[in-house]
Symmetry: C2
Subunit: 204 residues, 2 copies
């Protein structure tokens, strides 16, 4: 699996420092939703400039106004942008079209989507579906993975986020995830570099 | 009804200019989602400074990390913050608690919520429920209002957004909306001041 490091709730400067420490062990930098809402597109532009060669996911969580938001985020330097699976299919289709226009990737966040909606989302077969335990809920990742994969486990590109720890990675690796997303588990550790190294060795 | 003016897809300076023109005829300034995602909390702080006496809604559309986002947005100067009704009930409950702590309002955006979820959301009786036609869908406001009010028409505080025009305000006024939200219908008009005046006279 690829390791995606989600960074937010800090200044842009601090975010850059965190990413710098973990850089060698991560495959994708995630500019977290709160970083975008705190600092706007400047967060994406600044981190793009600092890490010109690294894949960047901007967790913009579009739910409407898809053309405007996706155009802006790709132009700011994102390689992957996110849209909520809870959005209308019209909105997600626009995200897909803008991603195709920019030859970039898009990720559909399954946060709080119903089983019916998850089945409908399989039509977006060039996207990445992300099984996501909200941080406002603290437990239940494994149950969420199982109930979601019952609908989508044959989808080509899958990611997983929320509550991934060294202790549960072996279980997560049994499923067909392309990307494991880790945030505070790395960014809040005492030794970011060493913790990122451990996570990379576990997911790899 | 109160008239709420939604402003986005422009610079902060341009947004301030638009609000200045419409100021006399609007009750609530809405800092639109895209303005927050483009410029971050600075958009809220700047507009708060320019309009210290006016009610400000920040359309932050929280869907997770509710405590962090709601604390930040109220501290930046918002009087009302938004959370997606599609969020988990845990997330919305945290928004409610932060709103109570700051003695501010919160609005639950019903964008793409199911009838079942709308019924569940009635427990948040100190919030404002917003019937919202996505801008990525261009028609169907009246049908959306009817199908939504079948669940929530006895809810104390209701707002409506998406596709409100001078031609359909009479129909909208038949329902018990406290707030009518208008964006491009005013901000893209050739004479913003005059158009805001017309909308205010129609909703009033």
């Amino acid at each position: 699996m690829k390791l995606q490091l989600a960074v937010d709730r800090v200044s842009i400067e601090k975010a850059i420092g965190i990413i710098r420490e973990a850089e060698s062990y991560i495959d994708i930098i995630e500019i977290g939703t709160s970083l975008i809402k705190d600092f706007g597109l400047e967060s994406v532009r600044r981190i793009r400039r600092e890490f010109p060669e690294k894949a960047i996911l901007a967790d913009i969580k579009t739910v409407d106004e898809a053309e405007y938001e996706f155009e802006a985020i790709y132009q700011a330097g994102a390689d992957i942008a996110t849209v909520l699976g809870a959005s209308s299919l019209e909105t997600i289709r626009i995200c897909q079209q803008v991603a195709q226009k920019y030859q970039k990737d898009y990720m559909i966040d399954l946060l709080e989507t119903s089983a019916e909606k998850q089945l409908e989302l399989k039509q977006f077969s060039d996207g990445i579906l992300c099984v996501h335990l909200p941080s406002d809920k603290s437990t239940g990742l494994q149950a969420l993975i199982e109930s979601t994969l019952a609908q989508i486990d044959d989808f080509p590109r899958l990611a997983v986020a929320g509550g991934i720890k060294p202790e549960n990675i072996a279980e997560i690796k049994k499923a067909n995830f392309e990307i494991a997303i880790v945030g505070g588990g790395i960014t809040k550790s005492a030794d970011i570099r060493e913790t990122a190294k451990i996570f990379k060795s576990l997911v790899g």
